[in-house]
Amino acid sequence: MSDPIQIATQAIEERFGAQSSEFREQVSLIIQPEHIVQACQVLHNEFSFDMLVDQTAVDYWPQETPRFHLVYQLYSYTYHIRLFLRVPLNGNVPSLPTIESIYPNANWHERELWDMFGIHFENHSDLRRILMPHDWEGHPLRKDYPLGYEEVQFTFNYDEIDVRKPYAKK
């Protein structure tokens, strides 16, 4: 770990009780959901992490606690360093505050997370589906959502699948 990252990580560990880990030279901090907005505020103001690169989630179903890990990635233009924040979330429809006020581009990232995972963000300005049609039911990237795989037509089962396929009429 280089020095700016070490300083920032230690400060966050002390103030918010986070745990840090390193894998293939990338530093991640595990932070609880109540502290995430303040942690981002601190990192933005004091440690010059001025860009939110990415905000994504990983689903660990059927494990329920934690069910999701929300991964934030922050980047600093002054020191050229990246920092990953992982937030564990429990339950089926977890909810946590939005960081849109600190990083405006979190708007679409959080809409995508709501759409794909069902993670609700409080105080978000416009939380609605972005990639799926607006009346779609279900959250596709969850592990208990099926892939929607359609049976492939080979020569031996061509005719039986053909009668079930919905062809369009003119």
Binding site: M132, P140, L147, G148, Y149, E150, K165, Y167, A168
Partner: protein
């Protein structure tokens, strides 16, 4: 036969109505711009230099469905886009034809999942399927020429 030998001096030519109408339809078929994804780039390459499609009468690509007669569905059709596709097809006036360009439009292609319509023939009736991911511009032109052959074989019973 007999009439033509006598009329030859008058500068007239007789031909069957089917052939005349089909010839007119194939030589100036205007495609509608319906490029969705990667196949659209190959369609643009087929329209641009080196594989010029305006040799076949398709100089213009009309964006408005009211003025086009060929819809080349180039690219993957997602479930959000399917109603839009059907609406545009309905807005095209007769006679109209559809070419499903690429694997995703023909059968769903590489993507066998919740988000992609498995074959655009679930939404609109297709005349010619062009395979490839994406098909080369030459393959697309071959598909268009196949469609021209099909149109030339149309009978008066079908469209009158």
């Amino acid at each position: 036969m007999g009439i033509e030998q006598k009329l030859g001096n008058l500068g007239l030519v007789t031909v069957k109505l089917e052939e005349a109408v089909n010839w007119a339809r194939t030589n100036a078929m205007w495609p509608m711009l319906f490029g969705l994804a990667c196949c659209a780039i190959e369609m643009m390459s087929a329209q641009a230099s080196d594989y010029d499609m305006s040799r076949f009468g398709m100089e213009l690509m009309r964006a408005s469905p009211r003025q086009a007669d060929l819809m080349i569905v180039a690219g993957r059709v997602s479930r959000k886009m399917a109603p839009v596709l059907r609406r545009l097809y309905d807005q095209m006036p007769d006679p109209k034809w559809v070419i499903a360009m690429g694997d995703c439009a023909s059968c769903g292609g590489v993507f066998n999942n919740y988000a992609i319509v498995q074959g655009v023939d679930e939404v609109v009736p297709v005349d010619v399927y062009v395979a490839g991911c994406p098909p080369r511009p030459e393959a697309l032109i071959h598909g268009i020429l196949t469609l021209h052959e099909k149109v030339k074989g149309e009978k008066i019973k079908d469209w009158a």
